[in-house]
């Protein structure tokens, strides 16, 4: 990049486009100015492009992909945002003040706490909120927050000390991102029917929901590559059988099958066991798409000269598939994985929403949405729908990244 700047400076020195030639006609001189500017910009860009092209001349496919992907602004932004999601999920204990099961009996269906920055005299202070209690309104049977008359001020402390805990079960810490002095709980996104903090629950739930994708994708990735690879490479009867199997799995409605399969998960299993069973269920039906992609690519690649060369030097079939054919389609695999993770997330959410996935006391975005099944409840306490925002955001971000990767991986894209 230094070279480009150097060229730019050179261009300025040589006076490209410094059109100051006196002309009688004002409009004409304005036009000259403009054309000179354009000319200058064109030359600069051309120089920049040339240098970039020289740098990329010997670049590997991955360097090319990275450069192209970085140019995709939406995808880059999505990557950063999703990174934040995962960061928060991993360090959930630090991020939120409460655990998933901590109840506040006087805060049933408490609405999101109103945070104040200005005190009664209108002076800027550290963020605080007034104490309130949830009381049922006898006319509407709705829980309403009631602020006490002698409103006590509760200050929010950042990096406050509290109960000791272990980050990821390893690093002992006792500070949290924020906490409140005193007994009054703070609900940034409101509380549920048992008076539990929704934000804390959403963030703990994101652990399950965001990572369920990976387990499932790894399994279906393995199945997809193996069966797709064999199908494309072997051809003949094996190919026909695997293709028919894929066709069958694709034409069976997945959701009834998921439901029926998840009924087989014994109720006495722990959260972690259920979690793995769910990923297994999701991936058993999810590998077909990848297998098709792999087969198609392998079919077109196996006629290449370098494969014949490998075969002549008596490489085994597996070696040809894994050493010579798969590296050629890795970029497609990466794209496919990125696009299939959000479907896993949606699948888990749907299963848990229907009560057949993750079970209480473990939480996922789907189980949180279970509380929002009743329209009357949503109408009274609309914040219970907030977990949905996180689901949709995660899925859209993954899709944007997938689009960016697809464009970057396609050697024929502009």
């Amino acid at each position: 990049m230094e070279k480009v700047d150097q060229l730019d400076r050179q261009a300025d020195k040589q006076g490209w486009g410094n059109a100051q030639a006196p002309t009688a006609d004002r409009s004409r001189s304005a036009m000259n100015d403009r054309s000179a500017q354009l000319n200058q910009r064109y030359r600069r860009n051309k120089a920049r492009r040339q240098i970039l092209a020289e740098q990329l001349y010997g670049a590997s496919q991955y360097q090319l992909m990275r450069v192209k992907f970085k140019k995709h602004r939406v995808a880059m932004l999505s990557l950063y945002l999703l990174g934040i999601f995962y960061f928060v999920a991993i360090f959930a204990e630090f991020m939120v003040p409460y655990t998933t099961t901590q109840r506040f009996e006087e805060a049933i269906y408490a609405s999101p706490t109103q945070i104040h920055l200005f005190d009664a005299e209108g002076k800027l202070t550290t963020p605080f909120f007034y104490s309130s209690k949830s009381k049922i309104d006898t006319a509407t049977f709705r829980y309403e927050p009631v602020i006490d008359d002698a409103a006590t001020v509760n200050r929010i402390q950042f990096f406050a000390q509290g109960e000791p805990y272990k980050v990821l079960g390893i690093i002992p810490l006792n500070r949290r991102l924020y906490a409140v002095e005193g007994e009054q709980p703070l609900f940034l996104l409101g509380a549920d029917q048992l008076g539990r903090d929704l934000l804390s629950r959403i963030i703990y739930a994101s652990r399950v929901s965001l990572f369920v994708g990976f387990g499932g994708v790894i399994i279906s990735f393995f199945l997809g590559i193996l069966l797709g690879g064999i199908s494309g490479f072997a051809g003949g009867v094996v190919d026909v059988v695997i293709q028919r199997l894929i066709e069958l799995l694709m034409s069976i409605p997945q959701i009834p099958l998921w439901l029926a399969l998840s009924a087989a998960i014994p109720t006495e299993w722990t959260g972690i066991q259920t979690y793995f069973a769910i990923t297994l269920v999701l991936s058993l039906v999810g590998w077909t798409g990848l297998a098709r992609v792999v087969r198609g690519k392998i079919l077109s690649l196996r006629e290449e000269d370098y494969v014949t060369a490998a075969r002549i030097s008596s490489a085994s079939n597996m070696a040809i598939i894994f050493r010579h054919l798969l590296p050629g389609i890795t970029s497609y695999l990466v794209v496919h994985v990125t696009i299939s993770i959000p479907y896993m997330i949606l699948g888990e959410t749907t299963l848990s929403f229907l009560g057949l996935g993750i079970r209480a006391p473990d939480v996922s975005w789907g189980t949180l949405l279970q509380q929002a099944q009743d329209v009357v409840v949503i109408t009274n306490y609309p914040w219970l729908l907030l977990p949905a925002v996180f689901v949709v955001a995660a899925v859209i971000l993954f899709n944007f990244i997938g689009d960016g990767l697809r464009d970057a991986a396609d050697p024929y894209a502009r």
């Binding site: 069976i252 749907t350 229907l354 949905a388």
Partner: protein
């Protein structure tokens, strides 16, 4: 053509067999036999089962015999007598429940597929013809939302919006006063008041995919020479598009039936739970949570059979429409 249909039907037979195997596996999956679950369930309700009753149930399903015999018994009962076994949750033959619920699921699915096309085809044409216009970007955005928002969520949000705005609670197919009435105009209009929401939700989730497919295939066609020729001959732009490229670009849509059917049927099951529709969804859910497996297996089997047959029909339609495929 006949040859093609024959070849496809031959593939269909092992498919049907495999589906029956999968459904039977579903029935066998939960720990314990049917009798155990049945007895447990009765005990929970405070009833008891005598040894003779137990023995008669065991004999009926052949529970003391090897798995293959059990499967044989189960499948011959279905094929010869249309008997899917009994549901203890509902205390009725499974066949009864299937007859009542399956037609509703099927008709809702078919109508919403039709609606999907009705919405998606004009939008797809518009986004291809006016590529990179405001509309194109808008539809792409809506498609993305359609992909990202799960159906049950969309149903919940729409239900909430309707209830908050008008106080009308959409639940089930009919208002209580019409539920046991025979069909009449009043009952039909009452149904329309409720049914538009599930239909809309199901169509929107499918629209996204169709728009993408149609847009891509139409964009491919628009650059071909015959389009230029037709334009050069002075055909008006709309007449040109509707008469030639559309007819070719619409072909891939027929094959989308293959993936739309399973998706819509699955979506219907989830949505019917949220909207409390009297279709297969709530029954299947209840059957799986209560481990009423003959019912669950029966539903899985019938729905899978129907979608596989639907895919088969779409394959034939495609072959009728496209000579390249039937000549193969």
């Amino acid at each position: 053509m006949l040859n093609f249909i024959l070849r496809r039907s031959l593939i269909l037979i092992p498919f049907l067999f495999l589906i029956s195997i999968i459904s039977f596996t579903v029935i066998q999956l939960p720990p314990g036999t049917y009798v155990d679950t049945y007895v447990n369930n009765l005990k929970l309700q405070g009833g008891t089962v005598s040894e003779e009753q137990k023995a008669s149930i065991e004999a009926m399903y052949g529970l003391d015999k090897p798995m293959a015999v059990q499967y044989g018994l189960w499948i011959t009962n279905i094929i010869l007598r249309g008997n899917f076994g009994n549901s203890f949750r509902y205390n009725r033959p499974v066949t009864d429940i299937l007859q009542e619920r399956i037609p509703r699921t099927v008709s809702i699915s078919l109508v919403s597929i039709f609606l999907t096309w009705l919405i998606a085809v004009p939008l797809g044409i518009l986004s291809a013809v006016k590529q990179y216009s405001f509309w194109d970007h808008l539809f792409t955005f809506i498609s993305l939302l359609g992909l990202a928002v799960p159906g049950f969520l969309l149903a919940l949000i729409l239900m909430y919006a309707v209830y908050a705005q008008t106080g009308w609670m959409i639940s089930g197919l009919f208002s209580p006063e019409f539920r046991s009435e025979p069909w009449s105009v009043a009952k039909f209009t009452d149904m329309l008041k409720n049914i538009w929401l599930p239909l809309l939700v199901l169509s929107i989730t499918g629209v996204a995919g169709i728009i993408r497919v149609l847009r891509a295939s139409l964009l491919d066609e628009l650059n071909k020479q015959y389009v230029t020729t037709a334009r050069a001959k002075g055909l008006s732009e709309w007449q040109l598009i509707l008469q030639y490229p559309i007819r070719i670009a619409i072909n891939p849509l027929i094959s989308t039936l293959g993936w739309m059917l399973p998706a819509v049927v699955g979506g219907e099951i989830v949505i019917s739970k949220v909207l409390n529709l009297p279709t297969t969804g709530p029954v299947l859910l209840e059957a799986t949570t209560a481990q009423d497996m003959y019912l669950a297996g029966g539903i899985v089997m019938i729905l899978s059979l129907l979608t596989v047959i639907g895919t088969f029909i779409s394959d034939i339609l495609l072959a009728v429409n496209d000579p390249r495929i039937r000549m193969n």
